[in-house]
């Protein structure tokens, strides 16, 4: 399966990575869904989706090749800004995704 390591070692590493990935995915859902949470915790958890998605989005658009890239050459940033402008007016994910793909093709064609 891999040419510089024996297959057993490879599989053990992947299984280990699977276990440490699965536990944080599983425990909160299984445990918290059965408990009554304090109001403050619920409010905290209500902000989490926007905070996580915002974090991932900013990172994807602006943190390119291991550094912050706010230049005009960053096509992800330009495509992102244009897509945000469209998203302000059109509240449909399908339209926004298609627009994002097309604008990326166009930007790559121009630059």
């Amino acid at each position: 399966m891999i040419n510089y390591m024996n297959d057993t070692t490879f599989i053990i590493i992947i299984l280990g990575a699977m276990v440490v990935t699965y536990i944080p995915r599983m425990l909160p859902l299984v445990l918290l869904s059965k408990s009554k949470l304090p109001k403050k915790v619920e409010e905290f958890l209500d902000y989490i989706p926007i905070a996580i998605l915002g974090s991932i989005l900013f990172s994807t658009l602006i943190y390119r090749n291991d550094s912050i890239d706010l230049s005009i050459d960053n096509e992800y940033l330009i495509a992102g800004i244009l897509t945000v402008i469209v998203a302000k007016f059109v509240k449909r994910v399908d339209v926004i995704v298609i627009f994002g793909i097309i604008i990326t093709i166009v930007l790559r064609f121009i630059f």
Binding site: I2, I56, R92
Partner: protein, 229 residues
């Protein structure tokens, strides 16, 4: 097929589009470091985590120890802990086993779609819907990472199709639906900026989880005005 599962599959199309170029890229990279197509399939089926898989492969290639690979993957994937927590209030009546199964497939992308549905179209949201979203991404990922490993040399300029922007665009579209108040907007921007800053520090692998927790904690309480459109 069950209509909830079917709706989940339908709503997941940006994930499918976006996973194609990333999956191919992962397969190509993994094959170039000497991992066989079967090895790639195994990683995708067991880990099912985009950035963590890229890290795993590059660490394997640099002959990092198993311990350091597993520790790094734990840290990088720990953000799912928050997603799983945020899901919990929408699954009060489901059994342990179905939740344990459903949570195996939690990703940034299926979470983005699932939490939107849960929050604003709750009557259309349940475990079957989420399963549809999750599994369609899972199969796309398994298939296209393997294709990348098998046929990597024949696929050249797939960036030209712009499909790699499907996922960022999906995040923008879903955030636009999620952000309803001024405070929501502040949460999004603050968390984003803090993540960028943390990316430049030694805490890079923790950036998403630290900034999400700090910003959400900081904004508990206080007034919450509707955003004027």
């Amino acid at each position: 097929m069950n209509k909830y599962i079917l709706n989940g599959i339908k709503d997941s199309y940006p994930i499918v589009l976006g996973y194609i170029p990333i999956g191919l890229a992962f397969g190509i990279l993994a094959a170039s470091t000497g991992i066989s197509p079967l090895g790639v399939l195994l990683i995708s089926l067991l880990l099912f985590a985009g950035s963590a898989q890229f890290i795993t492969v590059s660490m394997l290639a640099s002959l990092a120890s198993g311990f350091s690979i597993i520790t790094t993957i734990f840290i990088v994937n720990f953000r799912h802990f928050l997603m799983s927590s945020a899901y919990s209030k929408y699954f009060k009546n489901d059994r342990f086993l179905s939740l344990a199964f459903l949570s195996f497939f939690v990703t940034d992308e299926s979470f983005a779609i699932g939490i939107n549905k849960a929050k604003y179209h709750n009557e259309e949201f349940n475990k079957k819907y989420l399963l549809g979203v999750e599994l369609s991404g899972y199969f796309t990922w398994a298939v296209f990472t393997t294709i990348g490993a098998v046929a990597g040399n024949f696929i050249t300029d797939f960036e030209a199709f712009g499909l790699d922007f499907a996922l960022p665009a999906m995040f923008i579209g879903l955030l636009a639906l999620l952000i309803k108040t001024k405070k929501d907007l502040v949460v999004c921007v603050l968390a984003g900026v803090l993540t960028l800053f943390l990316n430049t520090t030694i805490l890079e692998n923790f950036s998403v989880i630290i900034s999400s927790i700090l910003v959400s904690l900081a904004l508990i309480g206080g007034k919450n005005d509707k955003l004027h459109e």
